[in-house]
Amino acid sequence: MNKTLSILSWIAVGLLGAAAVGVIAVRRGEPINALWLVVAATCCYALGYRFYSKFIATKILALDALRATPAERLENGRDFVVTNRWVVFGHHFAAIAGPGPLVGPVLAAQFGYLPGMLWVLAGAVFAGCVQDFVILLFSVRRDGKSLTEMAKEEIGRVGGFVAYTAVIAILVILLGVAALIVVNALKDSPWGTFTIAMTIPIALLMGLYLRRIRPGKVLEVSALGFVLVLLAIWGGQWASQNSTMASVFTLRAPTLAILIIVYGFAASALPVWLLLAPRDYLSTFVKLGTIALLGIGIVALHPTLHMPALTRFIDGTGPVFAGKVFPFAFITIACGAISGFHALISSGTTPKLIARETETRIVGYGAMMAESAVAVMAIIAACVLQPGIYFAINSPAGVVGQTAVTATATISSWGFPVTAGDMQALAHAVGEQTLFNRTGGAPAFAVGMAHIFSQSLGGATVMALWYHFAVMFEALFILTILDAGTRVARFMIQDALGHIYKPLGRTSWYPSILATSALVVGAWGFFLWQGVKDPLGGINSLWPLFGIANQLLATVALCVATTIIIKMHRTRYAAVTLAPLAWLVAVTFTASWHKILDPNPRVGFLAQARVLEAGPATSATARLIFNNRLDAALTAVLVVMVALVLIESVRQWIAVLSGREEARVKESPFVMTRLAEERG
């Protein structure tokens, strides 16, 4: 009876999911309710988890609850700790959920909600979740080894080298793009800048409280910090209305860029002083709270989506970023569907906490589903806006025009009516002077989020507070990623340089600290400066570059996974990782081709350099030409690396399948768990 009920329930979930996806895919010409997206996502995740992840767990990975994990075998109370699966789930989700799943889907909404939504669902269920799950399990079976080490052992030295280089490249580009998003969100915004500036004394206070008053009570002090941040948001309104304060906190993009570069260098070079750790905790607290609030707000309000399913910009003429829906929608969505960066976390701290192999399914596959759900929320937040407003916020002045009148006229001529009055009223409602040309995705997301929150809680009168809460939320945790990412990159470079000259590898030797910090900050600072000075909006070309680098790392992770699956004699199921790998290769190669060689100067770096060369020379022309050529060279290097890893992997597969090489996986030997007896 129970089995029959279960079968009928799953059939109902399948039918409901199919109906919801059908409505999303087929409905044209009239707005749909956001609840359809929520229902489609819930059903797809439920079906994917129940059936697809179970198929992978039993048929391919053969998860063994009796096999002791490294957390049990190597327990040391520090890195290796047997931990409750839900606790590991929370830990893993907090590490993988960054600004990517929020910003990427907002930018990709220029194609309409349909391409982004379909890719977020299919990409997560068939690619992203699978990658995170299998890499986590393979790392658990190898004493928690990192992706780079597994790539070196299973594919060869080239795989290891490419994984290492890709990580550095992603970090550098990501940090540059992330910093640019913060600059675009805070420029000419005294309220936002004041609130973010206030997080520094708040963090100092939290640090003192933690050290002197209540040592170790992080949760308690983070809650206190959260309340103080809310007060800082409220105080920002006063600062923006006070002429003296407003003039101090109204900063132009280049000034903000310099401040952020200085902050990044200080965060990397100085010892971890009172400020950094408390900021990290504060940002985590705000992040988890806001994501939960947004989810509740969307379900409670179930707003109408005003963006059409498909816009005319699928042809590649989009103002937010140029390029056709294929491949650029799939590059832009990034972490909401699949992220190579997750493979680093799945082979980092998480495998050292897993108590049983069977728990890798909920942690690896399940946490990525939760991240994908965050991307669905971002799509909804962007698409609840009137399309004209969405495009006015996200389009750079170089595309739509410098003034409010020309911008609204251009956007209205595309079939998305908007007036200068609408934009002025919206800017006034959220406490900004203007919302035109606020590129980067963060301000549009903040407006969408404020729209949802204000309708659920407090009404239009508190829209400005919610908007600045959203801006603060994004800026705060992007800044946390900036300082954490800069330090991670610095350590990686120091590790590598230590092989050449030993003192350079010492993380406490100040000449090395200063030199490597300057190297990392200089690298991402270059991309930030390039973005600030780019007349086409910077994010236009930088975000696809980040997407390509991130997908490259996912390609390496899937190459490692496929190689191990073949070596495990599960070749007939290799399509589980081979299919997403093939898709990613198609996307990455096509996108790279366009970014380097496309004759459209808004898409191709070299075409843009040629146009600049042919046009009137200004003081910035030579630098912009150099930037474009450098971006083209960087993209070419990335794509050559993909090709190298692929060739190495295919060579391995052929050698194993033809019997020329023994299929030997580098797993740790089986040890029977003691936890099974303890738990019964």
């Binding site: 109370g77 520090r78 890195d79 700790v81 931990t83 409750n84 839900w86 606790v87 590991v88 789930f89 929370g90 830990h91 907090a94 590490a95 993988i96 959920a97 960054g98 600004p99 990517g100 990580v167 992603i170 970090l171 990501l174 992330a178 933690l210 050290r211 002197r212 040592p215 170790g216 009570k217 992080v218 949760l219 983070s222 971890v272 750790a277 905790y281 985590t284 607290f285 988890l288 990034a334 972490c335 992220s339 960066f341 997750h342 680093l344 976390i345 980092g348 701290t349 946390t480 990623i481 954490a484 990412g485 330090r487 991670v488 350590f491 993380t507 980040f546 991130n550």
Partner: protein
């Protein structure tokens, strides 16, 4: 009721793990120290080196 208590317990444990309170407790157990300003400073010193190498995703 017991199910609700269990959920609350897990949520709190998750937050304590994310916010390193659980790591601090393990440190105190391992080093057989009582919680104090000095103990917390020693914990941060030991912990930061590992934490700074931990990547965070985008």
């Amino acid at each position: 009721m017991s199910r609700v208590v269990e959920v609350v317990r897990i949520v709190l444990a998750t937050l304590r793990e994310i916010f390193d309170e659980a790591a601090y407790e393990r440190f105190l157990r391992r080093s057989q120290m009582m919680s104090s300003t000095e103990a917390y400073a020693a914990f941060r010193q030991e912990f930061e080196a590992a934490k700074a190498r931990r990547p965070k995703c985008c």
